[in-house]
Symmetry: C2
């Protein structure tokens, strides 16, 4: 008998039929003799409905009240999921985040889990019940309801798996697992059987939308092995776990593309110490997330600084910078919002040479121009024209033979 934590996302519990489907899956797992803790999200769409209702009474709602409001989404789903299980004669009981003992810090709308005290939940598990827990929410030391921010339900599941020392953690979503590339852009993309935490993190940070980084980081920290799989079929998914030696045999695990990027080019910047720090400091203060930075020192004592930002931040960057130029004694800025980032990720890069060369050759052969390059230990990212992103992804996927496993 194993203890399994399952998590079902918003599309998996989006309507009564889907809730019944989830209940049937839970019943099947239980009939194999397992103990089950099931984390569910709010049904797809309900969070946006609630936000719209909030904005209708206050354009800038207070974060504490926003958490009070948003928490109702999961509370509805846990009750309905428990009821659907009862209809299948499966004993089940629902828990809010607070009742499940998910203790967080006091930061509303993006609280961090501090501790989990699942005392009552353990008693119900022992009594043979399926325990349904509201994802995304917790309670702080003042007794106030908090929410965990984007990807919060995944985090609840992984944190509960860690706290309960679960044997398995299964993250059910609307895709079959983690792919070598986006199957919509790359028809011969292949589902991965396994991936390491670090690779998963680099993919998440590079535009792969399967999971938020913080849940993966939490799993890595606490050594929670989890599987990403679909709630709509019975296919095995992708197991995310600590890197093991044989993983290095695969040089590149996958390709990720982020199409919502812009390139900001600053020229005529006086080439003196501290200028780049001034620029980047001002952008950081404005909450603009700068990535892929390249600086060229030109002639005549002026430098050029180029970086990428999320497309939605490009306008803000252009507005912030003139004040910096005034202080720095010069500078001009132009933004190009037609940029995509293409990244290859693999722990095998650490021990294999020539990855960059293969990547650049593949892109050159496909006639894709590289605008910027950045590298980490297990990732190489290039910025390209967005119109060429899918072509670039396919060329890279082919070059690293990712279709062959």
């Amino acid at each position: 008998m194993a203890l399994i934590v399952q998590k079902y996302g918003g599309t998996s519990v989006g309507d009564p039929d889907r809730i019944r489907n989830v209940a049937a899956r839970i019943k099947a797992a239980r009939s194999e003799g397992h103990q089950l803790v099931v984390v569910v999200s709010a049904r797809a769409g309900v969070t946006n409905e609630l936000i719209a209702r909030a904005k209708a009474v206050n354009p800038r709602p207070d974060t504490r009240e926003m958490d009070m409001l948003l928490a109702v989404g999961e509370q509805e789903t846990i009750a309905l999921t428990a009821m659907a299980l009862h209809a299948l004669d499966v004993p089940a009981v629902s828990y809010t985040g607070s009742q499940a003992g998910i203790l967080t810090d006091v930061t509303h709308t993006k609280a961090k889990i501090k501790n989990i005290v699942p005392t009552a939940l353990r008693d119900d598990l022992k009594a043979g019940k399926v325990v349904i827990v509201a994802g995304f929410q917790g309670i702080n030391e003042k007794g106030q309801i908090t929410t965990l921010g984007r990807g919060g339900s995944d985090l609840t599941a992984i944190a509960l798996a860690a706290a309960l020392k679960a044997d398995k953690c299964e993250i059910y979503t609307d895709v079959d697992g983690v792919y070598t590339a986006d199957p919509r852009a790359v028809p011969d993309a292949r589902k991965l059987d396994e991936i390491s935490y670090d690779e998963m993190l680099e993919l998440a940070g590079s535009g792969s939308k399967v999971m938020q980084s913080r849940s993966v980081e939490f799993a890595k920290t606490y050594g929670v092995v989890f599987e990403v799989r679909s709630s709509f079929n019975l296919n095995p998914g992708t197991i995310v776990k600590e890197e093991v030696a044989y993983m290095e045999k695969v040089v590149v695990r996958g390709v990720a593309v982020d199409k919502d990027q812009a390139k900001v080019v600053i020229s005529q910047l006086p080439d003196k110490p501290g200028t780049a720090a001034l620029v980047l400091g001002a952008l950081g203060d404005a909450g603009i997330n700068v990535d892929m930075i390249v600086q060229n020192v030109g002639h005549g004592g002026v430098a050029e600084l180029t970086f990428t930002v999320p497309k939605d931040d490009a306008h803000a960057a252009v507005k912030v910078l003139p004040a910096v130029f005034a202080k720095a004694g010069g500078g001009q800025v132009v933004a190009y919002d037609n940029i995509a980032k293409v990244s290859v990720v693999g722990v095998g890069m650490r021990s294999h040479a020539g990855v960059a060369a293969t990547l650049f050759r593949a892109l050159a052969d496909a006639n894709v121009n590289i605008e910027l390059i950045s590298t980490s230990e297990i990732k190489i990212t290039v910025a390209v024209d967005r119109a060429k992103a899918d072509e670039a992804q396919r060329a890279v996927h082919r070059a690293f033979k990712l279709d062959r496993g």
Copy 2:
């Protein structure tokens, strides 16, 4: 500076405009220097939506899970009301029933309040904040969410007013207060300035839909004076309080009509001790609420037993009885589902004679036939043909000069 508990019902918070209206009223009361605790219901309709979602996954949902589900209705309203107050620069903070310390017994869907421990709430009041509390809900000793059943939000408000020793308790609804009769049926019905708990209780038990009896009973037990008034205008409402001497000058305070009644006539019942108990016991066991009982002993050792039941229970009564007749050695049953109860209520009846005579004469003059009669210390009820109910109500209203105050 007074401490005021206000309660706004589902229609008063039914959409963003109405929530803003409620916020404006709260702000006005606060700007007069008062401390405010505001109890709100789920917006009108949301409870039915949630019940429909429950039935879609389970035709007979578990009561614990039903409470978990239904509690989201008020949780949404408290957050939105607090946000609407913030938009008017009024400091406000929302509390679920659990956070407000509303401790109940373990009976789901119709829990009783055992105690209120409003410690955190008191701190926020002292800090100058308006405290918004979710009506209808509490928490039991196991930490499970409970709901208080019909009229639960009124009960929350009155119980909080008692626990906080509030100076005033205002129940805002969609009518101006308690009327001498239903204004839709009796055009010259008049709003009462004051009414005693006992009169209010008799009216509530006789078909007046302003408030559930249990909230009034609670108010009576704890001596909470409250005012029923409209959230859609500034008219003063009706104050409900302990009876005072001058109230007896008014013989009849009001007329109530309940049109959803049926009459059940049992004949050929053997006239021996214990038979009536057998009949009424069986109906009680079947959860059928019997009212207005009349027994006639006829000739030949058989009796006739007639009573009223809510219309929806008539069919069940007819199904339950044959088994009783078999045990009792005889009996026949016929149900008539076209019955209305017309009641006159007033504490003055205790000290005034002739009320029944005036009532019967008024009905006779209006050509309304009386089918059954029952009396209490401060109420006389007659059962009449439903088709004559409005006419009867108008005749009685006129006979007791209720239009003149």
